[in-house]
């Protein structure tokens, strides 16, 4: 690991100010960052450790207005085990959290860290391969190389996929996030956290230098709300999704009155599919409906040489998520 200065902030503002300095990274648990630094894939001059701010930034609470506030430094284990996630409305978030990585990682990794994860693309994460990501090379190497785990949807000049398990359910549930930049506190829609144009030169997220995610807010869910999360992966133990789907439905009796559907692991960003979701509204659960929704979720897909299988798998995962979300009990 290259030497770096290690900044231990005493306050959020201090962390933010430190984070504005050039060549600086903000570190949560550092689960992935430390590995990348050891391999010299990332060699920051300054590392700002956010963990000392845990008292203020970790923890899950239900606010007076019924909103769920998830501190950015909450560990995945804390989130998964919180009673607020017990019901069917939050089942998707709970499942997504619980199937991430390994128990050891979940005990350490933070919610914000999971959402702001760096891509797992094997070209991007290789010093030896100079690809377009981050402007290191002229072209996306995965696009014409080995791409069995890469994007099938929504890609432009870079076919990486977004690896976060938590982002799809949070998007589906209409979450928002709060950041601090200097003394400025801003709350935005969750979708704003990800680039609208997921190009190679854009980072995985839209945060400005020094901008610290402090909390995620999940709005109170109406009666009849359900959510679910499914992902496909080659291994059950410690693997990344090849496709993922989070859904949130509101049911009135047998009828779906509202629906959100977000795909994960198939595009450079977690990908809301409103056109697929709206097919559900006003309908009753059926295999035919779910098939139609699954097809719509992957409408416009543009698979690469080695990942067309993701369309078949991804559609099955969409159907699974819907059928679990609409199950009777």
């Amino acid at each position: 690991m290259k030497p770096f200065t290690y900044v231990v902030p005493r306050s959020l503002q201090e962390a933010s100010e430190a984070g504005k300095q050039p060549d600086t990274v903000l570190k949560g648990a550092g689960v992935d960052l430390i590995d990348r630094m050891k391999e010299r894939l990332q060699t920051p001059t300054h590392v700002v450790n956010l963990l000392p701010l845990k008292d203020a930034l970790a923890g899950v609470a239900v606010e007076a207005n019924g909103e769920l506030r998830i501190g950015a430094l909450t560990t995945l284990t804390q989130l998964e085990q919180h009673t607020a996630l017990a019901g069917r409305a939050f089942e998707g978030l709970r499942l997504a959290t619980g199937m991430t990585a390994t128990p050891q990682v979940r005990n350490r990794a933070t919610v914000a860290g999971n959402i702001l994860q760096f891509t797992r693309c094997w070209y991007v994460r290789s010093e030896a391969h100079r690809c377009l990501h981050g402007g290191r090379g002229p072209t996306c190497l995965a696009m014409t190389g080995e791409n069995r785990f890469h994007a099938v949807l929504g890609w432009q000049d870079c076919v990486r996929v977004h690896p976060s398990n938590l982002a799809p359910p949070l998007l589906a549930m209409g979450a928002e996030y709060t950041t601090t930049l200097g003394d400025k506190v801003t709350r935005r829609k969750f979708a704003d956290l990800f680039p609208a144009e997921p190009r190679a030169q854009n980072p995985e997220h839209t945060l400005l230098p020094g901008e610290v995610v402090t909390a995620i807010h999940v709005p109170p869910q109406p009666a009849g709300a359900r959510s679910f999360y499914c992902e496909s992966r080659e291994k059950l133990s410690f693997d990344w999704a090849t496709t993922a789907c989070a859904v949130r439905l509101v049911m009135d009796g047998d009828t779906i009155t509202a629906a959100d559907l977000v795909l994960g692991a198939v595009a450079p960003v977690p990908l809301p599919r409103p056109n697929a979701a709206k097919l559900l509204v006003g309908q009753k659960a059926s295999e035919q409906l779910f098939q139609k929704v699954a097809d719509a979720a992957f409408a416009g897909a543009n698979p690469l040489a080695h990942n067309a299988y993701k369309l078949t798998v991804g559609k099955a995962i969409v159907r699974d998520a819907l059928s679990h979300a609409t199950r009777q009990s």
């Binding site: 030497p3 094997w122 030896a128 190389g145 080995e146 069995r148 496909s232 059950l236 693997d239 299988y309």
Partner: protein, 755 residues
């Protein structure tokens, strides 16, 4: 205390598997007359009553390993220890035209820089070693590595064996699309012509890496002109000699090298040589005049220390109306990395005894690091192809796969194992299961045979073991051979305890220091069958020395004194083990046992047989295969350390699951570099993916030496992937002929079935 021995009549073989409860299974016991060597222990046989052999003795070093007290090469450290790394070629093929080391040498904290390749020499693969650097920290070393300028005139490379020179033409669905060469006297073609049913198909496997938990490397320390090295190796004596030869220029001879490998974190066949890293650490320590540690990182481990190579295989065969194989034609193409060797494929020969048989193999050259032996080299590949082919052939002929094996398998012992294993596994029920039309989850069962053959390296000159009995009642059993994790120490403790009539806890077994008697490399399932008789011989000689003292002390004839149940004595005149050992002076009893040649008489079972069964469940919608359960039966002569033996079989199945459905090396064709050279995207089966695993150790009194142990490391790893692939075939109704069986391939198979 040796004495000439008379011939001894012993009973060899085994009692019926399942205790005569199953039809067709009965005792297979035979009398043999054997001639033990002078001074050797009398043979154990099928009637020997054991106190510890074949029982569930815990791994003797388990606690030390679990608590971290066991020190692996990776753990060795000294004051002033330097760290080291190797500069690797980023280019898959080319010529080294320049190597400028001076700037690196002048960097802060750098103690030594040595070139590992000469200017003008070929660079053979991405990861080929160019130079090595030692310094105070890995950070300083990495900085220096980045300042070495290596110029390589790159040439066009190829890392894909499917398009290598001499690779066969592939047609639809990856099938080899080239005519078979005409056979001698046209005998294969004629035999095929007589067949009632014929079949032909092509099979393919991808690279599996050894993935030892402890990477290659070690710590080197020069004491004057003598070299002491702690190396993660599976061949202590071979590597010691190899290093001495390589370092002759430093004034080193083999007697001046002491090698330690007390604990080794796996090898699987990849650690027979010191490797460039072993040589580099010695050169660096010599140049730096300080101890140096050099351990590879995971990427280097995946890309520069060998692998189980990929292969293409094609079979054509036919059966007669009775379901007997009449013709078997086989050709395979394996890739050997840049060396063009080591890619060979083995196939079972016991199904085709009466058939016209031909086998052909071609090695392909690609610009990657060469293969190294990996747990039954060539066998898991070939058995996958051959056993899946057999199931396809049986299906065409309308014969159940088990019945097909029973009709064609020429090995009587495995016929017992098929019947026993099928009953234990529930073959008939599993096979009868019909997946409901439209069912999402498809179940299937499959089976495969296993085979190996090792009754021990008898050693020329013979391997040895030291057995010491101390005044305080403790016993040492020492071998200079290595225990790479499979349980040699436990075997030594059990055999010694059995011979001395004490508990294994009395015995401290030590392995891996070349100052102790020589033993074989951990290869070919050789160590236990090679050393167990020597362990016993050493204990037997030590016992005789103790018996002599006790007989004299008690005033009883030596011939009547026995060591049994923690006592030494005759009749009512008994000493406790502790009291008996008090008769030993300050110097311990110190005996050297040797590995004698095997008896001249025919062993009961000259090879090792096994059979494995697997059940899978496949999600038709996602293509994901889960292995639900596996059962294996395996013989290995006399089972000594039952828990460790079972662990070998179960571990082989786990590795087989991983080979069958998860592991594959993925190469970038343009850069020639492995893309998944880590443990995140190189997918090794994890705990949640494991099936329910069970095995039965089929202990056989083999009568080939005083113990009768046979090899076990390789044989169980031969069958697993094949059994799983056959279960997938049963579940899907169509075979997936390409390992690993990942979701994309399952979905493609289902789609082609529909189409």
């Amino acid at each position: 205390m040796s004495s000439p021995r008379d011939p001894v009549e012993i009973t060899v073989g085994y009692r019926a598997l399942g205790n005569n409860a199953l039809p067709g299974l009965q005792d297979r016991l035979e009398k043999r007359t054997v001639q033990p060597k002078e001074g050797d222990a009398p043979p154990w046989d099928a009637n020997t009553q054991f106190a510890y052999v074949g029982t569930d003795v815990d791994r003797v070093d388990g606690l030390a390993k679990a608590t971290g007290r066991a020190k692996y090469s990776y753990d060795i450290t000294f004051p002033g220890l330097l760290q080291a790394m190797i500069l690797r070629s980023p280019v898959a093929k080319g010529k080294l035209t320049g190597l400028l080391l001076d700037e690196a040498k002048g960097m802060p904290g750098i103690a030594a820089v040595v070139p590992l390749k000469e200017i003008g020499h070929q660079v053979r693969f991405v990861g080929d070693a160019l130079a090595a650097v030692a310094g105070t920290t890995l950070h300083a070393v990495r900085d220096a590595i980045e300042r070495i300028r290596a110029d390589i005139a790159a040439e066009e490379h190829n890392v894909d064996y499917i398009v290598a020179d001499k690779a066969p033409q592939l047609g639809d669905g990856g099938q080899i699309d080239e005519p078979w060469p005409e056979s001698k006297d046209n005998e294969i073609e004629q035999a095929l012509g007589t067949a009632a049913v014929q079949h032909t198909a092509t099979y393919r496997v991808e690279v599996q890496t050894h993935s030892s938990l402890e990477t290659h490397g070690g710590v080197a320390k020069w004491n004057g002109n003598d070299l002491e090295i702690w190396l993660s190796t599976q061949a202590t004596f071979g590597v010691r000699g190899e290093l001495a030869r390589a370092l002759q220029g430093k004034g080193l001879d083999v007697g001046s090298v002491t090698l330690h490998a007390e604990y080794v974190g796996g090898g699987f066949g990849s650690k027979f040589s010191a490797g460039i890293e072993g040589l580099a650490v010695c050169l660096l320590a010599h140049a730096a005049k300080a101890p140096v540690k050099l351990m590879l990182d995971r990427f280097e481990e995946h890309t520069t220390t060998g692998n189980r190579p990929g292969a293409l295989m094609q079979a054509r065969a036919g059966v007669d109306k009775d379901g007997k194989i009449v013709a078997w034609d086989w050709r395979s193409f394996g890739h050997g990395g840049f060396t063009g060797s080591g890619g060979s494929v083995a196939v079972p020969n016991y199904y085709t005894g009466a058939a016209k048989v031909r086998r052909d193999h071609k090695e392909l050259v690609i610009d990657t690091d060469p293969p190294r032996p990996m747990r039954a080299p060539g066998h898991p590949q070939g058995w996958f192809g051959a056993e899946l082919f057999l199931d396809e052939l049986a299906a065409k002929a309308g014969i159940d796969p088990l019945e097909f094996r029973l009709r064609n398998d020429a090995e009587a012992i495995r016929l017992d194992q098929w019947r026993f294993g099928a009953a234990r596994f529930g073959w008939d029920k599993g096979r009868a299961h019909q997946n409901a039309p439209g069912a999402r989850l498809l179940r299937g069962v499959g089976l495969s045979s296993a085979r190996w053959g090792n009754l021990g390296n008898q050693g020329r000159p013979p391997h040895g073991i030291t057995c010491r009995i101390h005044q305080d009642g403790t016993v040492e059993s020492r071998s200079g051979a290595q225990d790479i994790g499979v349980g040699l120490k436990t075997v030594m403790a059990i055999v010694t305890a059995e011979e001395l009539g004490i508990t294994p806890g009395h015995v401290k077994a030590t392995t891996g220091h070349t100052s102790d008697p020589s033993g074989p490399a951990s290869g070919g399932s050789m160590v236990t069958p090679s050393l167990a008789p020597a362990v016993r011989h050493a204990a037997f000689l030590a016992k005789q020395a103790l018996v002599e003292m006790v007989a004299k002390h008690l005033g009883v004839p030596m011939s009547e004194v026995q060591c049994k149940g923690g006592k030494v004595g005759a009749g009512t005149a008994q000493l406790s083990w502790a009291d008996a050992c008090k008769l030993i002076g300050p110097n311990p009893i110190d005996e050297r046992g040797t590995r004698q040649a095997n008896y001249d008489s025919k062993p009961f079972h000259p090879t090792q047989c096994g059979a494995q069964f697997a059940e899978v469940e496949i999600d038709r919608a996602t293509g994901v295969v889960r292995v639900l359960r596996m059962f294996g039966i395996q013989d290995c002569g006399l089972v000594i350390a039952k828990k460790q033996a079972e662990s070998q079989v179960l571990g082989a199945m786990i590795q087989g699951v991983s080979y069958a459905i998860h592991e594959q090396r993925i190469m970038d064709k343009r850069s020639g570099r492995m893309l998944n050279g880590d443990f995140l995207r190189y997918k090794v089966t994890g705990t949640q993916d494991l099936p329910e695993l069970a095995c039965h150790m089929h202990s056989i009194a083999n009568g080939h030496d005083s113990v009768g142990a046979a090899g076990l490391g390789e044989p169980p790893s031969v069958a697993s992937a094949a059994a799983i692939a056959n279960a997938v075939f049963h579940a899907l109704g169509t075979p997936v002929r390409h390992l690993p069986i990942t979701p994309d391939k399952v979905l493609a198979a289902l789609a082609s079935k529909k189409g």
